[in-house]
């Protein structure tokens, strides 16, 4: 185990610095900007949560190389059990509370297959270990020690500031907390949908900034997403943002026109807007089956459309002024049709107005060059490339405004169907039906050459989940149908189980204590615990009168694990 350094928490103002530090460290380790950005985002969220419970804590970063697969371990020391760490569940491979030096600690473990030469290249693993231990580790340690000292000094300075400033700062922090807690942070948010993907990141500035983003499925086919920038700062701006976001979402449930949605939201907000705040907004609704996009731009930076062929087009039209300024306005909208493989890139002015140490602005030309630079494999990669370019440009200059970037990639049904096989089943609410489902799945699995281990895990998962539904979902004695949709694509197996029982989230309970002695062990909750651990992603949603459980198992990862290592041959 290699200790790579310690990152100190503390005041809200230190979080962006800590975040940057974790991002750089991760980028150096994995050479993957996307992983780096995501780990840093989650870590900074946890820091904020820790600050909220006034347990600043610290993060100890370790790299474990003496395993089949290297692991990065982040220990958030001194806060275990007191805070909600669910944000980390979505991204880390394991999150649990442990004791470290007598302190209750949240341990987040991230497997690093990128660093994983163990399975097939023992020589590269040695080189890597040498690199990290000798040169890499020294360099990282030096940098981290210096940064830690700086962070401690600025933290000490902060404590010495006057009461007035502290008050102002604490008000800003509360505003920031509200702002950050409103963002959807679970990615991928819709793992069972392969018609489109979305990824977004918001890097808050130290003081000023009121960016936000949001996205949700209005119904099966319509995906609504928006990016905005609220004037002002602190608690009033954060509350204004919360109101705007809520109004958009409630209006969008039965109004599918971006122009109409923003017209109504503008009326609602302008009516009683004594604070004279306003928000720039870009809102789009994408039909994920046809690629038809309608959008409305209310005083926001025009986004970019990058076609599969590499052409980058600016969606330049604006349809009205900022929202909240003038009552009774009618906004317009435009339409475009996305082709399979097209990307839509929406951002805030924090990107184009980022400043380098000489005071020069980043500006749109640079952004366009990044978008044109290459064919991106994923939304995550595009977002990482664009934000990384901004950080590179900004260098040591202080970040002046929030930087928000959101990318959507449209694939459509046809694009997603390449190499995809689907099995749709219906099962009655009788235990014998589980057998029938598993027999059909066995046939499907062997026809399409699903790895043996995945096939077995999946059958167990079906047994436990269907048993759960049949046993607990229904209050009557009637016959019910459970729908099962299994979709096998080259890189993943996605399963959706839908039942019409009473609302119940199987993943909403805490996991059983698996460390108890035989006499104390109870079996309750164990099935769900197995499902959560055997699958890569699990999610539950209540859709009108149905429970929908979605499971995803990634296959490339699995295949790599099954490859015999050189050492054993």
């Amino acid at each position: 185990m290699i200790h790579l350094g310690t990152i100190l928490g503390g005041a809200e103002s230190s979080v962006p610095e800590a975040r940057g530090k974790i991002r750089r460290l991760m980028r150096d380790l994995t050479n993957d900007g996307m992983v780096a950005t995501r780990v840093a985002t989650v870590a900074s969220q946890l820091f904020r949560a820790a600050n909220r419970i006034e347990q600043a804590g610290r993060i100890d970063v370790h790299l474990i190389l003496d395993r089949a697969e290297p692991e990065l371990v982040l220990d958030l020391v001194g806060v275990g059990g007191k805070m909600d760490c669910s944000v980390a569940d979505a991204f880390f491979d394991a999150v649990h509370v442990v004791r470290v030096e007598g302190e209750s600690t949240v341990r987040m473990v991230l497997r690093l297959p990128h660093l994983d030469p163990a399975a097939h290249q023992p020589r590269r693993q040695r080189e890597l270990r040498d690199a990290v231990e000798e040169k890499g580790r020294e360099a990282l340690m030096r940098e981290l020690t210096v940064k830690n000292r700086e962070l401690q000094e600025s933290f000490d300075n902060l404590r010495r500031t006057t009461t007035a400033k502290e008050r102002m700062e604490s008000e800003l922090n509360i505003g920031r907390d509200i702002q950050m807690s409103m963002l959807p942070l679970k990615f991928p948010p819709f793992p069972h949908r392969n018609e489109f993907t979305v990824f977004a990141t918001l890097e808050p500035a130290r003081e000023v900034g009121g960016d936000f983003y949001d996205f949700f499925l209005i119904d099966e086919d319509r995906f609504c997403f928006c990016v905005g920038d609220v004037s002002g700062k602190g608690v009033p701006a954060a509350l204004f943002m919360a109101v705007t976001k809520t109004l958009i979402k409630s209006r969008a449930t039965n109004d599918f026109s971006p122009a109409s949605i923003l017209t109504h939201v503008n009326d609602e907000i302008s009516e009683n807007n004594e604070s004279a705040m306003f928000v720039t907004l870009w809102l789009g609704i994408l039909d994920v089956t046809t690629g038809e996009l309608s959008y409305c731009n209310a005083g926001h930076n025009p986004p970019y459309l990058r076609s599969a062929s590499g052409e980058v087009v600016r969606l330049a039209n604006r349809h009205g002024p900022v929202v909240g300024a003038v009552e009774g306005l009618v906004y317009g909208e435009d339409a475009a049709t996305l082709q399979s493989g097209d990307y839509l890139f929406v951002y805030t002015d924090g990107v184009t107005e980022a400043m380098d140490p000489a005071g020069e602005l980043y500006e749109e030309d640079r952004l366009v060059r990044v978008l044109e630079a290459r064919d991106y494999d994923s939304v995550e990669e595009m977002v990482a490339a664009s934000t990384e370019d901004v950080w590179r440009f900004q260098a040591e200059a202080e970040q002046a405004d929030d930087v928000t970037v959101l990318a959507v990639r449209f694939t459509g049904r046809e694009g997603g169907a390449a190499g995809t096989h689907v099995l749709e089943l219906e099962a009655g609410n009788r235990y014998e039906e589980i057998d029938r489902v598993n027999r059909s799945f066995d046939e499907f699995a062997s026809t399409h050459g699903l790895p043996e281990k995945v096939r077995r895990s999946m059958k167990l998962v079906f047994d436990d989940l269907l048993n759960n539904v049949i046993s607990y979902a229904y209050e009557d004695e009637d016959e019910h149908l459970i729908e099962i949709r299994i979709e096998l694509s080259p890189d993943r197996l996605a399963v959706r189980i839908t039942d019409d029982g009473h609302p119940f989230n199987p993943f909403g309970r805490t996991s059983p204590d698996t460390a108890l002695e035989l006499e104390e062990r109870e079996i309750g909750g164990l099935g769900i615990h197995l499902v959560q651990n055997l699958m890569d992603e699990v999610s539950y949603t209540r859709r009108t009168d149905r429970n929908v459980v979605v499971l995803v198992k990634y296959l490339s990862h699995e295949a790599a694990e099954n490859e015999p290592s050189e050492e054993t041959t």
């Binding site: 589980i434 035989l518 006499e519 062990r521 164990l526 099935g527 615990h529 197995l530």
Partner: protein, 110 residues
Amino acid sequence: MKISHDERDGVAVIRFEGNLDTNTAPEAQDTLDGLVAGGTTKVLVDFGALDYISSAGLRVLLATAKKLRGSGGNLRLCSLNETVAEVFEISGFSTIFAVFPSEAEALEGF
């Protein structure tokens, strides 16, 4: 699922073939309960021909182990495939049960 059992050196050896899940757990439980009720104290469950085990199957093992311990007996398990072994790891069963790679090793010193 097929269940077969024979006795070797005073140990009842049970072999499960197929799936130990919601639908087969009752039969497995009956078989094991019958042995314990008949005075058997040493039970070895051989998982060599088992495809998978779900929580319903784990429940059977837990109940049997508790009953055996109550009567001064013991339960051993052997020949877990990769999936079954993973389930044992995740559930913590690998630490509360005596698990052996093969039947021969499990019988040794039982």
